[in-house]
Each structure stands twice: as C-alpha cells, then as structure tokens.
Amino acid sequence: MKAKKYGVVVVGGGPAGMSAALEASRAGATTAIVEERHSLGGQGYKQVPAGFQVKRPDRLDRQIRAGRALIEEVHDCAVDVYLDTVAWGLDGTHVGLEAHGDAPAELRADQVIVATGAYDRPVVFPGWTLPGVLTAGGAHSLLRTQGVVPGERIVMVGTGPLLLAFSAQLHSQGAPVVHVIDSSPFPGPGAMTRLALSARRDASLLVEGAGYLAYLLSRRVPRLYSHAIVRVDGTDAVQSVTVAKLGGDGAIQPGTEKTIEADTVCVGYGLAPSSELTRVVGCRQIWDRSSESFVPYRDDGMRTSRPGVLVAGDCTRIGGAEVALAEGRLAGLTAAHDAGLLDDAKYRARSESEIHELRQHLRFRDVLDSLYPIGDWAYDLAKDATVVCRCEDVTMADLAAARPPWVVDPSDVKATTRAGMGFCQGRNCGAHIRRLIAGPGLEYPSFTPRPPVKPSMISSIAEEFRDLDDKPIL
C-alpha cells in the first residue's frame, strides 16, 4: 500500500479544516487536507457542485462566497487536497484512507488536525424512517447545492438558529414550506437582551437571524413555538406530521396534538459532533452538555490529550462557521509552533488574539445553547414498533427484550440486538440507546467507535483483497 509523509494532515475540508491547513502551510509545514466529499467547503460552506456554472458570482450568498474565497486560498497555497477520500482510521498520527487508484492509502503525518464537523442530531420518533423525512441539513443541501426542492408540502420541525435560517432559505428559494414548528419558546425580552449582550463578536449573526424571522413573518409562513414533533404517519411515504405543545415543565402536554398534512418533514434539532476519529485514537473525552455527547478534550491551543493530535470546529462542540474558522486558525498555528516552525513570541502574539476572539464567540454560543435546549421529551417519542436503529431495523421492542443483567452497556446492546452495527455505525441510534441505558442527566458514552469509522472497501485497506472490489465491509 502506498503511503505519503506530511508535516500536517487535516481531516475534513470545511471552514475549520481549511483555515487550519492554511495556517500550517503558510508557516512552512507540508500540509494535506483529506475531504470525503467531491469539493471543499464542508457543511458550513456548502458549495455549488463542480459541473454547475456560477453565472452571477456577485449574487451568491454570503456562505457560498466566503467558502469560495477560502477554497481559492487553499488552492493558491501549497496544500495537497485529497477529495472523495474517506479517512477511515487514525493510528497515532497516521491516517488510513480509502484509496482510489494510485492515491496513497495512508498519510503519515507528524501532526493530525481532526476537523470532521458534525451532522444533524437524530431524534427517534414513530415514522422517522419514512421516505420524505429528511434532516434539515440534508434538505438544505439538496436545495441549496443541487437546486432540488425536497417536496410539495414541507413542514420544518426542530429548534435553534439553523431551523430559522433553513426555513427562511428553503422558502425563499421556492420550497413550499407550509409550517415551522419550534420546540423552544419564542425568545422573550430577557432572552433577547442576553443574546444581544453576548453578541459582541456575533452581531452580524443576530442581524441575519432577525432577517430570517422578518422574512418568515412577511411571507406569513405559519410558525408554532414550544411545540415538539410527536410522530409522522404514512404508508411508504409521509402523509402527515403530528406535533404537540410542550409545557413549562418541558414535557409534552397530552391533548394538545395537532396534525398537519405534509409530504416532507425536515427535522433539525441541532447538531451532533462527529468525534469518532478522536475516540478511535484514544483522545480523552469530556462531556458536552449541549449535544449530550462526549467530545475530545482540548487545551487552549486545540491540542487533544494525544501527542500530535489536534482538533478544530464542530467535532469538538457545536459552534458554527465563525468558531470553526477561529479554531482552525488556532490549531494550524499550534501545529506549526509545535513543529518548530513558529517561534514562541510569534505564536503567542497570534494565538492570543484567536483565543480572545474564540472566547467571545463561545459566550454567544453558550447563550444560544441555553435558549434552544433539547428536552427529555425527545427520548420518549418512540413506541414499541418504532425502529431505533435504522440500518438493522432494531425496534424499541427489540431493545426492551435486551435487559440486564446480561445487557448493561451499549456494546452489549450492539452484540445482542445488532443495533448500531450497520452502515452508519450507530451515528443515528447511538444517542437514543445511550439515553435508554443511562436515563436522564447521566454522563454516559454511546457506542465505542471502531475503525473503519465509515464503511470502506476492504481492497483499500488490505492489498490482498484487491480482487474483492465490490465487497464493502463494516
């Protein structure tokens, strides 16, 4: 198998990964980015696909333009970019790749920066596996990058700034959004004040949010606050979505159900960090209350507990593109400094201003997180027949049959029920199963990620299997 050596390898080509690679490369490190998708940009800076033509660059929106500028910088720098490439494992600072053709199957780095981002936080409810139920992020990508409208009667459910932004953006691009259902209350004067006071660095985000709200108001898109999803009904396709009111105690109030006709339901209850590689390589993990998951511990310079392994962006905690950019720059600077390419004085001068900026962003994030929590109701929606593990079709009833004393932790559940053993490797059922075992409020891990962290061709991992090219493995 071919291997290649680099000073710094960045896994993930979103805002965090690109800004990290730029700093490392500019300081003189030989640098590479590994990106699973066909183009750089990630979820934060979704791009117009290669093959489509931009006719009016001046009329592209802010995120696409910011992404294009950053991608151009990466191309102007001496950064090697491996696109369409899954990083399936991390051993020390060696990155295992699903290689194509003559591309290397392993990148041996002195330092690795994990910037693998996040994905839509799964909420398990009856009907969530029906075609027509999409994550809000998925629907957003489909319309924004591909120009495909996901349905003819779209109901948006979820909470937080992304629900607002995606609803307005989908509607303004011609998607028939007929209802927006937010599980949080409409921010009152107190919440608004807290947001405004913490938005020193993020005033533009507040203005953007207000713009989305004003848009939805002006188009008279019906909105419901303090309402959670209860279920989606339909046979082989979505026919309706049922929501219900959340009381002051955060529980669903019986008798308040409303059923809305729809063919498409977009679900956006925040994001879940993609921290698998950091767990595979043994980075110490800390509990993140807002996403209810373990995330890699990192110091002020974005170093994890493992030598040579750094992190940046949403895979450490959900912060959005601005935080990802700042953390990426910081991680790149730290990698350069630790490699002896940046002296102490220069590093201190640059990193201190980044750390200062980050603290201000994160103060705003903390307020946002406190305004848009996901309550315990989200774990109580599944019924006996509800599929929890989508890959292996494991239902709540199947999980209930796997009881102590034989089944005590997520690994036992996996072994006895096959939940979490499928293609997505527990990314969609792990949080729910974790919560079933732990109960509310307990810091408790989900499934232990195993390499390959994404299904990869065995021929890309072991040469002797090259003739088995059509056999994916888990």
Binding site: L130, P131, G138, Q146, G147, D470
Partner: protein
Amino acid sequence: MSASDDRGDRFRSSFRGVVERGSPVTLRVDGVELRGYAGETVAAAMMAAGIRSFRRSVRDHVRGVYCGMGVCYECLVDVDGQRNVRACMTYVADGMTVERPGMGRSTAAERPDGERP
C-alpha cells in the same frame, strides 16, 4: 416513476439565474430513463424526478434520502453494478444505471408481516 421533463423541472429550482446546471445526461433507474444534469448527485436527480423510495431495509421497510450528507447510508443504491453506493455522495454520469435494492418486490401491504414503523 416518470421520465417526463416537466415533472423533473417541477422539483428543480431555477437558482434565480445565479447558477446554471451542467449539461444534460440520461440515467436509467430500474430501467426507466431519467434526465439529470452534470454536477447533480444521483439522489438529487432521483428526487427531482419525484422518486422518494430508494430501497428496502433489512425488514423490508421502504427508505429514502434522510441525512443527504453521507452519514446515514439510507440512500444506498446499486450504481453501474456496484452495490451499496450512497446516492447522495455519487454524481450522475451519462448512461449510468441505477437499481433500487428491493424496490422491484411486492409492497409492504401485500406481505403478511407488513410491519410499519
């Protein structure tokens, strides 16, 4: 499922003239011709044609695009004979053949165990 262009265009936005799609390509989904455009994913081209059902799961439930970003593996289809390809991460090409695993079989309603989520 229909290959008619107006149906496909109903689900395609105009990008308000800011972006133009790539050149048209033809793919076959379960033997039926479908219009796509260079730069589109297989998932996008199928959804633009009004296809929501992509495959049947291990217990025979119909599944479609869920995460749209390569995480959930719900949109797995067979592309040009290659099994288990993520439709949301794969780009269309002229002459591409796509098979939806299990979708040729009888519907859930016709099965004795017709269990629904």
